[in-house]
Symmetry: C2
Subunit: 764 residues, 2 copies
């Protein structure tokens, strides 16, 4: 491996100081003059006709500017069925939390007061709540007669799943989309298998639980031009959606990315068009800031799902077939990760035969959004739990079964597209000793039973074209100009990539961004693609700028470009000590009156054609208290193929953070609905996320199977840490107490019930 | 000439709507939270030691945050002698209006009240006031013992004058710089001339009289990063100067160009570092907004000058020699246009011998700045008046004398550098009929005498590297991203250049800008260089983007790039009707998840190595009332070589506007000082600028001698209209009443005195 000066080092984050000192500017920190505050009246029903709305008392509240229904606002696509372009209810509400009326007032308090005075007369209808019941004939229709749209958003975060076979199948009325992946003769292969196991798994709706609720501030000028300040993960997508919603040309809307207080896939764009519509309606600057309760009721959490999985294998442990049915409950609008989830379900191992059917079901619940590793996290729980069942039935070591069958380069995925080079085997090799050590270490203490689990999973990695700029400045520093959002520390890595490429110290590189009107294009920060795609553009921009600088320096030093090198910002003639110049001198020759050289302005673009999928393998040792059902995680070791770690400390941070979220999903988190479709978890009092005290010490181990395409061999590292987490914990619990968790979160009462059932069945 | 679809047409200005409807955002329109207001205590003396300053009463005014001297503020270059980096007085004041103390308060009114309570004890000194007296031995020293700096700013607006001979000459103590241009044996050539004329001219200090006084708003965040909103003509220069003044890295200061309410050279950077210093000192957002009186006392007006000019000629009208002495009164800091003025003085005609000595003199007056056609305007007055004297003495038609001797390609300038291709002769040819018609038309009416004048002048044109971006957007429009300031309508021309080059309608092109942190580099908007330099970068960026788009389209349409054309945004296969695609489709293939093409992101840079000088020739018919001395302009016809008019209506606007300013300088405008150095013109009550009623109908005629270098053959058009204006009017007055104006403004009382003197001498 080449010796690098800047990449591969754990530099401090560029956004560290402002965040640690509390100076980072979040959207709601903006001081905007003459700001109106918007509060929403949310539907208390999951499915109801709106009979009438009386806003007269609300309008009387001092400071209230207006009380608006959807039809009062300048949305131009009222019947498109797109939630983002028509955020509020019209003639009926479709989920508990569906915004019905927005109150606009000079102060937040006035708006809040007025919200309580809006009188909406609803005609409640039976709601489609449970995803399985919603597939039954005669079940309530979630969307009534409304047409169902296909959503583009799933592709925003997706790992590029495509190629599924589509066939004409008679579908229940609430199904918004379906797919079918097949390979081989599934019935014959299963029949020929020595062992077959099957099980059904459920995952609940979970919330991204970002610290900063959804927020958007919109300023408007007298010519109707809008500037939208938002913690979006994707400024260009948000701009496009706002323009589509309001029928405005792109030139009239500028989206500025603010510091983002956590996104995890949930902030691609949600309330921005509504805030913009209120600004257009009132001609005033507007702040729409969700309360935490708004965010639980009316944001875009990860959707519930059901997975029926059947696996076959030969006696020797060769896995033969997967047959599965995948159902995602997308809530009131389409947009679940059905496609990527179904694809990844059958992608971690070699299968002779595949038969996976997937269904997206509309219900009267909060519509689905993306959440880190969308679809993959749920798929891994189903797949990796069933693989453990197979190991048990085969009497085989679960680690060995995985090693024997794990996907490698060329393994066909369910869409029959082979994996490119992947590092799954290397992760397993690296993990094995740790796994064996945990197994050796586990021991029971009275009613406390210990178990060790292993699980794996991968993420193909998103792709999106992007451009970056590397601009030499008059003081000899360079600025990297970006249109991407720094969701996860990518700015620091970009600084390192630019410094390494150009031959600078990190202090000589500034990271700056533009807004959607003037920045180079970049896709949304999601799908583990920012470093992989924008990072390559940064590398190319820095190389382009370096060549321009060398060209000028060659003239100054009367030598050829090839004889020059740049080290820590000094341009030197190789082998001629002291014959050198500096970048500020090159700046002076290319910027300023009468200067003779063109400014050094490097451009780099990327349109990655190839994914560099990243796998992870986890092992954990847990202790289960058989008297209380409580699970304690004792050890957690994660191995991940990161391609090349531009900044190892940041990659560690991604891994550890992802695992803590995975622990939350495995053991604590669930947005719950009652049978009428009422959300019963409306705050962090009801919705449990892990605190620092719940997080064990996590050992993150980076394996580097270099990507052929990413900058310096790097791969996206954001999604994978979360993917094997739930099944690793579930498998450890199964190992400890002999019960197979089939739904998450794995709650103490479920464990106690499982233990009781085992005892009843005499198996314990 | 090729047929163009968009350039060469008079499209409406892109900034028209927002300006006509009053919606343009000027710096003082910004709504900035928690804003402090700064007011300045200005020196009432031209030259004084500061004995003591008592701020205690001022500090007691409610709302006052601080009362600061220069030494209280974080300037790091207190002894550099740079006015811009150390704007306030330290131990002595150097001019009437020199800021001594700044008062910072929560409201403008509180600051204003406190200003009146600051008690400064001055020890007044004799002041250097008159520029000639200041050259005398023993005259007061304008700067005491302070070192005198060379100023970089003159180069910012300059037409690229350079190459003057410098020699060691014993200089008076107040001289800050000098130059000497020579060619041939001046004494011998003058001695061999048949006719010699000579005269001395004075021009006064004049103010740019922009509608919007100097203003800067600075926001500061808790990490000390500054954003400076200002009506600067040059965002990068301003950023660099602020950083130098405060010792900050470039990355800590961002300059945002606001709508500019007139600049004319006077807004390259003045008060911005002071405003920034106050923001750093207080940690608060700050607005420093000049009153009109502040702007008269403490801005940067055009400097006074004296011109001694001697011309020789042969009997046949061949001009032989110019000997001249040029003195610019730069006020208390160096920075006059001595170099460009001295160069242009001897550049309009062929001279066998040249001997021009130039001196920049420091006095205790408001320091000099640039004003449209700096140096050139004064030089033309001196040169063109003397040429008319020569015509009279030769008994030759003044138009013919100019045609016979006028500079052409290859004519040596005083620095012995030949003119490149110029259009002076073409302008004169175009003007001749108009001049002859005015001469034929003139007639006296009793005490009203009419006269016709002619004059010419040119401007070499500034050069500065620049970069521009042409970005395809998702909706199929393109955005031109710029770091230049739109001072004079250049944005509209850029839109046309981009549309023509790419094959778009103007509506498909957006003009957007970045700030100094993220925009492509561009020089200051001045010196008639923006269209010529940035315009070329725009053309190249659009061509680059077009080629990228064609490459993608070729793949879509399965054809070669060469077979494609873009017409009004539609990419067509030439000769195959209906085989076409659109830019939004190309956008969809290059932006968005999974898109396979790199974003279309064109970059263009320019580093013009060659000037494309632009000449103008004016004629005017005036009526002089011999009883009142009042001058009325009856006809005004201006011919200007514009290379190629990208937008003819805008070019007309430049010409007409420049001439109205020239009429002001010829007849009305003067900043006056008494013998102690007190400014006696402190408002528009004392300082007369022409109103609409003073402006005649002006006929602007465009001649197009295409530049080999500018976009579509365009040349800079901003400075030339003002240059021949004063001498054309002076020559017309001389023609009418037989007196030779030797100073401007040419006031009625001076004309009456001249007429009286003529009558006394029996010449009338």
């Amino acid at each position: 491996m080449p010796e690098y000066a800047v990449v591969g080092k754990s530099l401090p984050r560029v956004d560290g100081e402002e965040k640690v000192t509390g100076q980072a500017q979040f959207t709601s920190d903006l001081k905007i003059a003459a700001l109106l505050h918007v509060r929403l009246v949310l539907s208390p029903y999951a499915n109801a006709r709106i009979v009438s709305i009386d806003t007269s008392e609300a309008e009387k509240v001092p400071g209230v500017i207006g009380v608006y229904r959807a039809s009062d606002l300048p949305f131009v696509e009222p019947d498109s069925g797109s939630r983002k372009r028509d955020f509020m209810a019209r003639d009926r509400v479709l989920y508990h939390g569906h915004p019905v009326v927005c109150v606009v007032a000079e102060t937040g308090a006035a708006a809040e007061d007025a919200v309580g005075l809006v009188d909406v007369d609803y005609d409640p209808q039976d709601a489609a709540v449970d995803l399985l019941l919603s597939l039954e004939p005669g079940s309530p229709l979630a969307r009534g007669e409304k047409p169902v749209e296909a959503s583009a958003e799933a592709a925003m975060h997706g790992g590029g799943a495509s190629g599924e076979t589509e066939e004409h199948e008679e579908l229940p009325a609430n199904v918004s989309s379906n797919l079918h992946f097949t390979r081989g003769d599934i019935d014959a292969v299963l029949a020929a298998s020595d062992v077959v196991v099957q099980n059904t798994y459920r995952t609940p709706m979970v919330h991204q639980a970002y610290m900063e609720p959804q927020v958007a501030a919109v300023t408007i000028d007298a010519l109707g031009e809008l500037t939208v300040y938002t913690s979006t993960q994707a400024i260009f997508y948000t701009r496009n959606e706002i323009c589509a919603a309001l029928g405005l040309p792109n030139s009239k809307v500028k989206v500025v990315s603010m510091t983002i207080g956590g996104g995890f896939g949930g902030k691609f764009m949600l309330i921005e068009a509504l805030a913009a519509a209120v600004a257009v309606k009132t001609g005033r600057n507007v702040l729409l800031e969700y309360t935490r309760m708004d965010d639980f009721l009316a944001a875009n959490p990860a959707p519930p799902s059901v997975w029926e999985v059947k696996l076959g294998a030969k006696k020797d442990g060769t896995i033969t077939a997967m047959q599965a049915k995948v159902i995602f409950d997308t809530g009131a609008y389409a947009g679940s990760p059905l496609s990527i989830g179904s694809l990844l379900l059958g992608a971690s191992y070699n299968y002779e035969a595949i038969d996976i059917r997937g269904y997206e079901v509309l219900t009267n619940k909060t519509p689905a959004g993306a959440y880190r590793g969308p679809g993959a996290v749920q798929a891994a729980f189903a797949s990796e739990s069933t693989v453990d069942m197979l190991a048990e039935k085969l009497g085989m070591d679960p680690f060995e079964l995985r090693q024997k069958n794990g996907a490698t380069e060329g393994t066909l995925r369910p869409n029959n597209v082979p994996w490119p080079k992947i590092g799954l085997a290397q992760c397993m090799t690296e993990l094995e000793g740790h796994y064996r050590a945990l197994v050796a270490k586990k021991q029971d203490h009275g009613t406390i039973r210990e178990g060790v689990g292993v699980a794996l999973g991968g993420w193909p990695g998103g792709l999106e074209p992007s451009t970056a700029i590397c601009r030499l400045d008059a003081d000899g520093t360079v600025s990297i100009v970006l249109g991407s959002v720094d969701l996860s520390g990518t700015d620091t890595s970009f600084k390192q990539i630019a410094a390494e490429t150009f031959g600078l110290t990190p202090a000589q590189v500034n990271i700056v961004r533009g807004d959607s009107s003037n920045a180079p294009y970049a896709g949304g920060a999601g799908g583990s693609k920012t470093l992989y795609t924008v990072g390559l553009a940064v590398q190319r921009a820095a190389e382009d700028a370096k060549q321009q600088a060398l060209q000028i320096a060659a003239g100054m030093l009367e030598t050829g470009v090839d004889d020059l090198e740049i080290v820590e910002g000094v341009v030197r003639v190789k082998g001629v000590p002291g014959k050198q110049t500096t970048l500020d001198k090159i700046g002076a020759l290319s910027m300023g009156p009468g200067a003779k050289q063109e400014p050094v302005y490097g451009r780099g673009s990327s349109a990655q054609a190839n994914q560099s999928p990243a796998f992870a393998a986890h092992t954990t040792r847990v202790a289960v208290d058989t008297e209380t059902g409580k699970v304690k995680i004792l050890d957690y070791i994660a191995v991940q193929d990161v391609g090349f770690a531009i900044n190892p400390a940041e990659v560690d941070g991604q891994i550890v953070g992802g695992i803590v979220q995975g622990i939350g999903q495995a053991l604590y988190e669930k947005m719950d609905y009652d049978e009428t479709g009422q959300i019963t978890t409306q705050s962090f009092l009801d919705y449990a996320i892990p605190s620092a005290g719940h997080a064990p010490t996590i050992q993150a181990i980076q394996v580097e199977v270099a990507s052929d395409w990413g900058p310096f061999g790097a791969k996206g590292v954001g999604e994978p840490p979360l993917i094997p987490c739930m099944p690793a914990i579930a498998n450890a619990i199964a190992d400890a107490v002999g019960i197979r968790p089939t739904s998450v979160p794995i709650l103490p009462m479920d464990i106690l019930a499982g233990i009781a059932a085992l005892e009843t069945n005499g198996k314990h």
